[in-house]
Each structure stands twice: as C-alpha cells, then as structure tokens.
Symmetry: C2
Subunit: 344 residues, 2 copies
C-alpha cells in the first residue's frame, strides 16, 4: 500500500487541525488550497502550526493544485451551503479526487438542494469518485440517534438537542449566528432576508431517510439567545453586552407520512463560564423512552477526527454523492489510513 | 414477499415479549419450544399473555418443532453460555433455521468458546444459515462505544459501566448472581468453583476485534453488592436482609498489543427504590475524553426489540457464526420484517 494522497482544501482552523491529524495517520499531503493573503505562499505545515515544514505550499488556485496533485481525496472545509461550495466540489471531482467535507448541507442535500446535489452526483459518477459530507453530525446527530432508534419497537417521535460554542469557530461563524448584534438588528435581518434552513433540517432529512420513512412536512425556525451578563467573546474580540445576541437556536421539525415526527434543536452561541457542548437524543414510542446523552462533547476536534476517519470509506464507496447512511458506521482508525483500504 | 417464519425457542419472560413484538411486525409464528410443564401443550399466544390464540402449541421436542416448521429464523432465549446452548443451536441450524439469540457468549464467542463457536460456524455454513448473538449488548455495549471511538483520533482507553436490575429477569438470573445469599455463601462458592468470565469479557472481545486490534491479555473479576437496608426482591419473592447479596459487579479488562486498554463493569443486582438502568462509556485519548451515557435504559425490553430488529440482518447475512460487528449497524424496523429482505 502507498500512503493516501490528500489535498487540504481550506486552511482555516478546521483545515489546520485536519492537517495535523492526517500527518499523524500516515497520509501524504499533496496540495493545499487557501485564499487568505496571510497564508497563500507559505508552507502548509507552518500555516497549520505543526512546527515542521511539509513541503506543500498553500495556493489560491484550486484548479492548479488539484490538476497537479493526483489526490485520492480532498478534505474540504471552506464554507456552508451547497450553492457556495458547488464550484469548489466540482473542481475536486473533475480532477478525480474523492471529497469529504464538513459543509453542512452536503450531509444530506437531497431535500434542500436537490438540483445541485444531483449535478454533483452525476459529475462524481462520471469521474468515478465519491463526495460525502461528514463532521460532528456523522456520529452525534446521525449514527447515535439512528442506532438508538434501532432498539425501538415503535418510534412515535425523535427529539434531538445539541449545543456548540461559537467561540470555537472564529469570526465568520460568529457573524453567521449574529453574535454580538442587537435584538433589533437580528429581527430586522430576519424580517428582510429570512433565515435559511440550516444543518438541523438536513440532519432530520438524513434520519428520516435512514429509517426508510417519507418526509411529508418540514418546519424550521430560529430564535435568539440573549446575553444576561457581560460575556467576553474570543471570536469577536470584544465583550457582548446584556441584551445583545450570544447566538441563536435553530429548530427543525420534520413530519413523516408514516407517523413518526422528528425534531432537532441546535444552540450555537458564545458560552459563559463553565458551559460545554451537549448532545442529547430522546426516542419515544415503545419502549416509552430511549435516552442518549453526550456531555462535554469536543465538537470542533470531533468534526475533524470524523472527516479523517471517513477517508477510507469515501475512497472505497461507490461513485456519486453518498451520505453516511449508505456507508458502514464510522470507525476508529488506529493505523495508517491506507491500511484500511483492503478490508471493511 | 411472504411473512418471515419464526420459531420462538424458549418461552420464558423474554420469549413472551418477543412473541408479542414479532406478531406486531408481521412475522408468522410457526413453532414454539418450551420445557416448563406449565407451558407445554398450551397455545403460544396464551403463554405469552397476548390475549389471543396464535394457533401454535408450545412443545418440548425441539427436533419435532424445527423439523416441521420450515422456519426462516429461530429466536432463542433459553440460557447462558455456549456450552449449555450448543445442542439447542445445533438443532435449529441443522433444520435450516437462522438463529438470533440473546445467549450472551454468542455475542462474541471467539475468545471464550472458540471450539464450540467454530463447530457451529461450520454447521451453519453447511446448512447455509447464520447464527448471531444480539440483545441489549448490540446497541448499548457494542454499536454505541464503537461509534463513539469513531470520533477519536487516538484511543488510549475505553471504559464502560452498565447496570441492570435482577428483578427484571426472574429467579434463575437472580440465583446466577447469588442475590439473597450471604457473603459467606458467595465467597465459599467463589473459592470452590471460581466465577466464569461473563458477558463483560465477550463484549470487550467484540470491541477489540471491531477496532481491528489484537487482545494480548484479559482479566475478569467479580465482587458482591451487599444490601444496606431491607430490600424486597420480586424475583426471589422475599426481602433481602442487610449484609446479604443484592447481586454482583462483573468487571473485565482486556489489553491489546497495540496499546489501547478496554474495561467494562457490569452491575447486576436487585435495585432499591428509584434506581434505573444506566449505560455509560468513556473513551480517552485524543480528544481527551469522549463521553456517552444512556439513562433509564429499558434493558429487558430493548433486549427483545433488538433481537426482532436484527431478524432481517440475520436472514440476509452470509452463512456462518457472525457477530454484529460484521453486520450493518442495528436499525429501526418501522414496517413488517419481510419488507426489509429486499434492501439494506
């Protein structure tokens, strides 16, 4: 076996973590795509803070990097929503690289972005490669609740609740959830532009599909989380005043033709002292209640570990746009990634 | 599709629950094997407390029942340890019935009963059927911790802890954990007969194998749980006095050649007021800690639901003695069992 050849596509906080994990797991880094002038032209090892040079320069021309890299896979961490990400994914697939991404809509794009997903599916099939959305949602929002449902005789409802700390993901994500803005600013934004259905909706679509059920309705909503005391935010670089937004709570409900209803509530906000990420699922029916809870979830790091652990799966998967429901459940990779390409 | 044809092999508390679930899920019950004189000769529906007759008589001759039934699968809930169960399984396999069982050693028998497991594996292959151990351990002690490990970059240790209520399982199980006996009786039994490695060991063997690691050592131990106050036991039909055993704590540790260590502690005892089943796993390494917890686990019912939900998997699995690590993760079955025989 030769090492798995990987392009790191997006060299922000997540790309940096993934670079380190990939090196640890025996991958050969064969290209890096970035856009920040402070990173382009520098060595990936330096940009990722590894303390060693990797001999891979961060470049802003994705076409050139992918065209030259001969990559087995690109790990893509750039931005949210398939519309924004389409061209990035296209570039990878056209150059014969499998894609595993933390872009949230890609986790299950079939209900919210079916046209783009179909186009990428065709493109991937034509080039005999696979595109997959993974990240924290793989284990925490999909595998765990689906497995929990596997001990139910009858499911009436599935209810999930998760929290994440805006300060773990930098200023772009902080703005995305309107952290630090006033309630008035947030509400006038909502009235003017609405609020797109976020990953909560895609997660429920994935759960419904995995259970073999048919969605017949979906509702999404958002509400603000307001600071009660002065709350410092490292991603904003300032203190959020009482009454301003710490972030938002995204909620989605999907009903099914067969009866079971699915609800997921995701709180993304700047944390106060002592807060940590929680992930909780409750399945009601028979048995009356099945409960699962993860405390102190290291969501940011676990997002990256799961992308790396999925690499053997995405390389071996049938071509096309696949979701984790179609793959074996996520597994620990104790050895170099290439050693998993022969077996299950 | 025709209904899945099922023999209920063992009509105790668990067999009764499974009978009800099977009827609900559209299975056709084609035989029932029991040995209690109070049950043999009666209709399975009556024995299972369904309030309806199923037209299936409980018989004590397994050969005759299996020979006549043309069963797709036998759900077997009789006793613990492969040595005790070997002939029961043999009878099913020889008559071309797949087997799914809650017998604990069958969950992963390769380290503790390799000879018997190999013999059953050969027998199953000869008759082109599959034998599988499932039950509560499928989800709670295997799928969940293995999936949790799937979000680790490096595993140093895996630590599980679970509790179950002896009173949920009847007098035979109560005796198995020496509930109601004195500390002296328990200790002299230990000194005389030792304590066989129970399902905690088989669970860890399964986890180690699923992670692709190699066990290089195993230790098991048992210690008593003593009553502090007078504790009524429904399975014993009497009150356990302070100082007597409520049950035991079984612990196993398996070390691996590659480094990670696995520990599992299982408390089986008569509960006091307000106690409920807990299942908890902690994976340490990088991330520092990954935590998962199930509160108020309905272990007894979930043991039965998982056996029923595994029926499509065991029918479709390759012939032989398989473990859940080789199968797709356990899934909810919303529809009749036969409808899952075509797809994933």
């Amino acid at each position: 076996m030769r090492p798995v050849r990987v392009v790191v596509y997006g060299v922000g906080a997540m790309g940096a973590i993934m670079t380190r994990l990939l090196v640890d797991k025996g991958a050969k880094l064969v290209g890096a795509v970035g856009r920040s002038p402070s990173k382009v032209g520098r060595d990936l090892g330096e940009v990722a803070g590894l303390g060693t040079m990797l001999g891979v320069t961060v470049e802003d021309g994705a076409e050139a990097v992918l065209g030259r890299a001969g990559a087995d896979v690109a790990v893509v961490a750039v931005s949210s929503y398939l519309e924004t990400m389409y061209d990035h994914f296209r570039t990878c697939l056209e150059h014969g690289a499998n894609v595993v991404t933390i872009e949230e809509e890609s986790f299950f794009p079939w209900a919210t972005a079916p046209t783009l997903a179909r186009r990428l599916d065709e493109l991937a099939k034509r080039h005999r490669v696979t595109i997959l959305g993974s990240g924290a949602q793989d284990l925490y929002w999909m595998t765990l609740p689906c497995a929990l449902m596997g001990s139910a005789h009858r499911v009436d409802s599935v209810q999930g609740r998760t929290t994440w700390n805006v300060d773990d993901y930098g200023p772009e994500v902080a703005q995305h959830v309107w952290a630090g803005s006033s309630l008035e600013e947030f509400e006038s934004h909502l009235a003017r532009d609405g609020w797109p259905p976020f990953v909560v909706r895609n997660t429920l679509d994935a759960l419904v599909a995995d259970a073999g059920l048919t969605a017949d309705g979906a509702q999404t909503s958002v509400r603000p989380v307001l600071a009660e005391v002065q709350t410092p935010s490292s991603s904003l670089g300032r203190v959020i005043d009482p009454g301003q937004l710490l972030g938002v709570i995204d909620t989605a409900t999907v009903t099914t033709r067969e009866g079971p209803t699915f609800t997921f509530e995701q709180t993304g906000c700047v944390y106060g002292p002592g807060q940590s990420d929680v992930n909780e699922w409750i399945v009601r029916g028979e048995p009356d209640e099945l409960r699962l809870r993860n405390d102190r979830v290291p969501t940011r790091l676990a997002t990256c570990t799961q992308v790396v652990n999925r690499i053997p799966d995405v390389i071996r998967a049938p071509p096309g746009f696949v979701t984790v429901a179609e793959l074996p459940r996520i597994r620990y990779r104790h050895f170099a990634l290439d050693s998993y390409l022969g077996g299950p």
